[in-house]
């Protein structure tokens, strides 16, 4: 079963890599400094993974690439006859290579209604507050790979951000099988057994990737590059499918790894990476009894 999952994951990653290598988008709006994004892909939003990269600033929104206008949502937002999409006023564009881009929470849709094709850089409207939002409202941007049936982290397909992310490691927590949680400090003693490692998810921006090594051996990598669906729930693919409840089991906790530690001295290294490859890391030495 695990082998089958690994093979499926490998194929999905291969497909994703082929899409990424062939294709790249432009930013759908001007980036605000110092904080261009108000929330990141796969970040906790409500009680689910966010499928969107959410931008800051009320500015014109443009098509990230040329494509075919698939659908405009939100025209009937006040009608009882239609469901209330939390995307508000939104445009969905179909691109080559089976990709869709979604531009949501627009204040208005500023392009001719009879337009079929749209060119890269064409204005779609102003980012706004028409969708579900907290704070000032802003553009919600999504990228969907319809061939591989996955939501893709838009940052993977975007030009590099020149300003560094506010990447922080945050506090690291160790939870045993009984659910007892302790904060990891530089030197600590604990009992041998299986544990789950978490980080404080409120610290800095959402990392793109996290890794955990135990005594120099890589134990688990979690990469937030895509969300897949299994039994009606989205998941992050790692050693096994990690649904929302595994990644964010409770407030302020983000999953890092499941580890097993044996008696003796154990060094755990935790690393968090942003999309540019910048890393923040810390090592913890445990005296395992």
């Amino acid at each position: 079963m695990r082998k089958a999952h690994k093979l499926k994951y490998f194929i999905l990653v291969l497909n994703l890599c082929s899409v990424i290598s062939l294709f790249a988008f432009d930013w759908p709006q001007q980036l605000m400094v110092p904080r261009p994004f108000s929330s990141h892909f796969a970040q906790k939003r409500g009680n689910a993974f966010s499928p969107s990269l959410t931008f800051n600033g009320s500015v014109p929104v443009t098509a990230s690439d040329s494509g075919h206008i698939l659908l405009k949502l939100g025209q009937n937002s006040n009608s009882c006859a239609f469901f209330p999409s939390t995307l508000g006023n939104a445009v969905i564009i179909a691109h080559k290579d089976f990709l869709l881009t979604v531009y949501a929470s627009l204040e208005s849709l500023n392009f001719p209604s009879d337009k079929d094709e749209i060119r890269i850089g064409s204005e779609l409207g102003m980012s706004g507050t028409s969708g579900w939002h907290t704070g000032t409202g802003c553009l919600e941007f999504q990228v969907i790979d319809t061939k591989n049936k996955a939501l893709i982290n838009p940052l993977v397909l975007m030009p590099s951000v020149t300003d560094p992310y506010d990447l922080q490691l945050g506090k690291i927590f160790l939870t045993d099988k009984k659910g007892n949680t302790t904060e990891l400090v530089s030197r600590k003693s604990t009992e041998s057994g299986s544990y789950t490692l978490y980080r404080d998810d409120a610290a800095g921006v959402m990392p793109y990737k996290t890794t955990v090594t135990v005594n120099g051996a890589l134990v688990q990598t979690v990469t937030y590059d895509a969300l897949y669906l299994q039994e009606q729930h989205l998941y992050i693919s790692s050693k096994k499918a990690l649904p929302y409840t595994s990644i964010y089991p409770e407030n302020s906790k983000q999953f890092l790894a499941e580890i097993h530690i044996n008696t003796g001295r154990t060094v755990i290294m935790v690393q968090v990476f942003d999309i540019l490859g910048n890393v923040k890391q810390a090592s913890y030495t445990l005296d395992v009894l």
């Binding site: 659908l71 405009k72 469901f83 995307l87 979604v102 049936k149």
Partner: protein, 366 residues
Amino acid sequence: MKIKENVLLFGFAGLVFFIAYLLFAGLPLEKEIQFIPKWTIDIQDKYASFIHEKKLEDMTASSVPGDALPFKLAQYLGYITPSGDVPFIFSFPERASISQTFWTSYTSSASNTPVYSVKNTSSFTLEESGFPHIVNNSVYLFYPGGNSFGRYSTEGKKLWTAEHWSPITSFASSDAGTACGYADGDLRFFNTKGDLVFSMYPGGSSYEVILGIAISADGSYIAAVCGLEKQRFVLIQLNGKNSKIVYHAYLDSQKREQTYVHFNNAGNRVFFNYDGGLGVVDCEQNTMMKIPVKGSVCSISELESGTLTFVLCQNEKTWTVLALESFSNLMGSFSFTADNAFMSVAGNDLFIGKDSKISKMEIVKK
């Protein structure tokens, strides 16, 4: 000689015409539909008197008669009785959803949203973020991001959720289950327990997307408008995982926005809006009629007797009500100008909301 023959001929023809006239004049004329105005009320006046008479805390505990109709008009929601009373009215600041039994008002950052029952004083809270959507006794919450929703019990307990990799573009609910259409063209049907009964890509177009969807009340059929280049209507007969398309029709033109699809009460006719018209499909005969319509269809209701169906269409600020006999014969129509409108049918009465006014018309055939 020739003149004499002509006089005889014209005289004979005149006699025949006279006899025929006498015969046909005796036959009763075909009955015509008449809209008899009964009353018109101003909901702003009703609201002013309502909040004057009632304390704010009473507003959620209002006793609403069983025959009262829910309405949502501009920034007001409430219930109106056949006699024109408004037992409950509420002015909502941003967004709202209302059904025969529940109502809620919420904001763009909705979280922990209270839902009120009109039958008694109880209310419950949807303890998550998102936009509530109430269909009869079914309560749904659409979560942030636009690609997931949850169904809740009438006590506010989360029953089940469904996520997807692409945004929800159409949604329908009936006692039989919940149907959802997505931006990538996936069409899914969930039973009342939330189990995925089937997932299907109707396909047949260059670009796949589900623009509108409906389920018949008994769960026999799902209908959808889907795809671009070429857009088409599909009728799916539900049979678990073996559900299949039993009728389809390509459309001459296409829409790129959410599209209204609706089954009649008996579940043997389905109406759908296409670019430039209203399609009416007979689910038993697999035939389609087209009725030209300007603008978008936003509501369809039929009389209790099933003899007449009313269609409300919006073309910018012009609203048109069409009356259809036998589901597809256009018997008449009238139009009005308004920013907001609604239409509802109860028994043999038609209720039309126009900005701040609601009118009742009795439908008779004389």
